[in-house]
C-alpha cells in the first residue's frame, strides 16, 4: 500500500513535470527598507536554474542567501531593474507550484495541528478531504513518516520536524522546491540521512531544487551546479557545474578525486580576499 501511494505520487509528478519549470535571474538586486540604510544586500545577480536541476546557493553567513531564496519564492520583492522569472513568467507574489522549506522548522509548523494536518494545510479547500488525506499520506511516506501521522510536532525530533516540513511542501506537488539551510541545525547522521532522502525524492519526481547552504561539502554532494555568493553587496562569485556522477554516495562520492578538486576550488573562492574577481 505504501509503494502504491508512492508510485501514484511519482506518476502524477512525472506526468505533470513541466519542461520549463526553471528560474531565470537577470541583474537581480534586493534590499530591506530600514536595514543597511536601504543599501542593496546583493546586486547584479545573473543565473539560471534549469528544470529538474539541483542547484545550491553557497555563501557565508549574512551574505544574502536567505534573501535571494525569498526573492525566488516571491516572498521578498526584488529591487528596481531586477528581472526574476519562473517558467518564463516574471514573478508577482509566490509563483504557483514553487514551495519554500524554511530553515526554522520548529517555528514553521503549526504546533496545534498533528503531523498529518500540518501536511494537509496547503491542500485544504482545494480538493475533497479524502484526497487531501491520501496525498498527505503519500508525501509523509516519501519522507519516512507514515507511522507518525497523529503526533504533534513537539513530540518529534528536529530531523522528523524538518521531514514534516518537507512533506508539507511535497504534498503541493511542486515543480520547484526552495530550501533554506534545511539541514543546518541537525546532527551529522540525521543530516546525511535526510540528504540522501532528498536526492532520492528529487530523482524520483524530477522537480527543480534550489538549495541554500553555507556547508561546502553539502553543496557539492547534493548539487548539479553551485552558485557561490560573496562580497558586500553580494554578487555571484562563481557558478560551476558539479561534474560528478549523478548517483551520489556518502562515502564513494566524497572520496572521488574530482570531489576533492571541486572542494578545493570552491574553498579558495569562498576564502579569497576579493571573491568576486575570477582568477
Amino acid at each position: 500500500m505504501r509503494t502504491q501511494a508512492l508510485d501514484r505520487v511519482a506518476d502524477a509528478r512525472t506526468g505533470t513535470a513541466s519542461s520549463n519549470a526553471g528560474f531565470a535571474c537577470r541583474n537581480v538586486n534586493a534590499s530591506y527598507t530600514g536595514g543597511h540604510g536601504g543599501a542593496p544586500i546583493f546586486e547584479g545577480i545573473d543565473f539560471d536554474v534549469a528544470p529538474g536541476e539541483f542547484v545550491s546557493i553557497l555563501g557565508g553567513s549574512g551574505v544574502g542567501k536567505t534573501t535571494l531564496l525569498r526573492v525566488l519564492g516571491g516572498l521578498h520583492a526584488a529591487g528596481k531593474g531586477s528581472d526574476v522569472r519562473f517558467a518564463g513568467q516574471p514573478l508577482s507574489g509566490a509563483p504557483d507550484r514553487v514551495v519554500m522549506v524554511f530553515q526554522n522548522y520548529a517555528a514553521s509548523l503549526l504546533p496545534w495541528r498533528t503531523v498529518e494536518s500540518n501536511v494537509r494545510l496547503g491542500l485544504e479547500g482545494k480538493m475533497p478531504r479524502r484526497e487531501q488525506r491520501e496525498r498527505a499520506l503519500a508525501a509523509l511516506t516519501m519522507v519516512g513518516l507514515a507511522d507518525n501521522l497523529h503526533y504533534h510536532p513537539r513530540q518529534l525530533s528536529g530531523g522528523m520536524q524538518q521531514r514534516v516540513q518537507i512533506a508539507r511542501a511535497l504534498v503541493m506537488d511542486p515543480l520547484a522546491l526552495l530550501m533554506d539551510e534545511p539541514f543546518g541545525a541537525l546532527d551529522a547522521i540525521t543530516k546525511a540521512t535526510l540528504q540522501d532522502a532528498l536526492l532520492r525524492i528529487q530523482r524520483q519526481t524530477g522537480m527543480t531544487v534550489v538549495f541554500v547552504t553555507h556547508d561546502l561539502d553539502e553543496a557539492i554532494y547534493l548539487s548539479d551546479r553551485i552558485i557561490v555568493l560573496a562580497g558586500s553587496p553580494a554578487g555571484v562569485a562563481r557558478d560551476l557545474a558539479v561534474d560528478l556522477p549523478r548517483e551520489r554516495d556518502q562515502v564513494a562520492t566524497k572520496a572521488d578525486p574530482r570531489y576533492l578538486e571541486l572542494r578545493q576550488e570552491i574553498y579558495t573562492v569562498m576564502h579569497s580576499s576579493d571573491p568576486r574577481r575570477r582568477p
Binding site: L75, G93, D96, F102, L110, P111, W112
Partner: protein, 270 residues
C-alpha cells in the same frame, strides 16, 4: 503539566480547600457580629437570614424569568460584540493602513465609560431591552477588538510566509494560521469582554431597562427587603463567577493541545 503540579485535571479548575475555609470563616464572623448585635444596622441581615430567604427566591417563576433575561442579554451582547471585535480587530491587525487611520479613534472611543452613553442610548432606543443589548454589545466589542489586533501583530512572521508559500487564501490564513497563533491574547480579551458585558447588563437593568436581575435588585431595595436584596447580590455574584469558570474550562479544553500551557499562563489561572 498542571496535573503533575496540583493533581487536578488538565482543564477543570481546581478545588481550593484553603480558600473555602477562609470564606466560611468570614461568614461565621459576620453571623456572630450580627447575632451578638456587636454590629447592629436596621438593614444588615446575617448570612443565615439571607440563606433562609434564598429557597423561596430560587423557586419563584418571576426569578427564573428575570435570571433568564439577564443571562440572555449579557451572553447575546457578548457574542455579537466578540464577533464584531474579532472581525474589526483582524482588520486592524492585518492592515497597516486601517491601523494607521482608525486605531487612534478606537483608543479614544473605547475609553469612554459605557455608562456615560446610557442617556443617549435611552433617547434613541427608549428604556427597552434593545437599549440594554446595544450597550452590552458596545462594551463587549473593545477588549476583543484590541486583543485580536494586538495578538495578530505578535504572530511569528515566519508563519505568514508559510501561508504565502502554500498559497493559502486570506480567510484560511486568518482562520487556520493567524488567529490560532494569537489564541492566548484573544482568550484574555474574550474573558474581559464577558465580565464587562455582565456588569453592564446589570447596571443597565438597574438604571435603564426595567427588567432582569438588576431591576429585581432595585425592586427588593425599594420594598425595603434587605434579605432579598442580599439574595440577588449573591445570585449575581455566583453567576459572574460561574460564567468565568465555564469560560476558563472551555478555553482550556479548546487549547488542550500544545498551546494549553500558554493559554493557562495567559489566563493567569495556572
Amino acid at each position: 503539566m498542571s496535573t503533575a503540579r496540583t493533581g487536578r485535571s488538565a482543564w477543570l479548575p481546581g478545588f481550593n480547600a484553603a480558600g473555602l475555609v477562609t470564606a466560611a470563616g468570614i461568614l461565621v464572623v459576620w453571623q456572630l457580629l450580627v447575632s451578638t448585635k456587636v454590629v447592629d444596622f436596621l438593614f444588615l441581615p446575617g448570612p443565615l437570614a439571607i440563606a433562609g430567604r434564598m429557597p423561596e427566591l430560587l423557586a419563584s417563576a418571576d426569578f427564573h424569568e428575570q435570571f433568564l433575561h439577564t443571562l440572555t442579554y449579557s451572553l447575546s451582547g457578548w457574542g455579537i460584540g466578540a464577533g464584531i471585535g474579532i472581525v474589526v480587530g483582524s482588520l486592524f491587525g492585518l492592515s497597516r493602513l486601517a491601523d494607521q487611520w482608525a486605531m487612534t479613534s478606537v483608543t479614544v472611543v473605547r475609553l469612554i465609560p459605557a455608562i456615560a452613553l446610557l442617556p443617549i442610548t435611552a433617547l434613541i432606543f427608549g428604556l427597552s431591552s434593545s437599549m440594554e443589548l446595544v450597550l452590552v454589545t458596545y462594551v463587549a466589542v473593545w477588549p476583543v477588538l484590541v486583543s485580536v489586533a494586538g495578538g495578530i501583530r505578535t504572530v511569528e512572521p515566519l508563519l505568514r510566509d508559510v501561508a504565502r508559500t502554500l498559497h493559502l487564501r486570506w480567510f484560511r490564513e486568518l482562520g487556520q494560521v493567524v488567529l490560532p497563533s494569537a489564541i492566548g491574547p484573544i482568550l484574555v480579551g474574550l474573558r474581559l469582554s464577558l465580565s464587562s458585558a455582565f456588569v453592564v447588563a446589570i447596571v443597565t437593568e438597574m438604571i435603564g431597562n426595567p427588567a432582569g436581575l438588576g431591576n429585581s435588585l432595585n425592586n427588593a431595595r425599594n420594598a425595603m427587603q434587605p434579605e432579598l436584596t442580599f439574595c440577588y447580590i449573591v445570585v449575581i455574584g455566583v453567576t459572574a463567577v460561574a460564567a468565568n469558570a465555564v469560560f476558563n474550562a472551555l478555553s482550556r479544553w479548546a487549547g488542550r493541545g500544545s498551546s494549553a500551557r500558554k493559554v493557562d499562563d495567559r489566563l493567569g489561572v495556572a
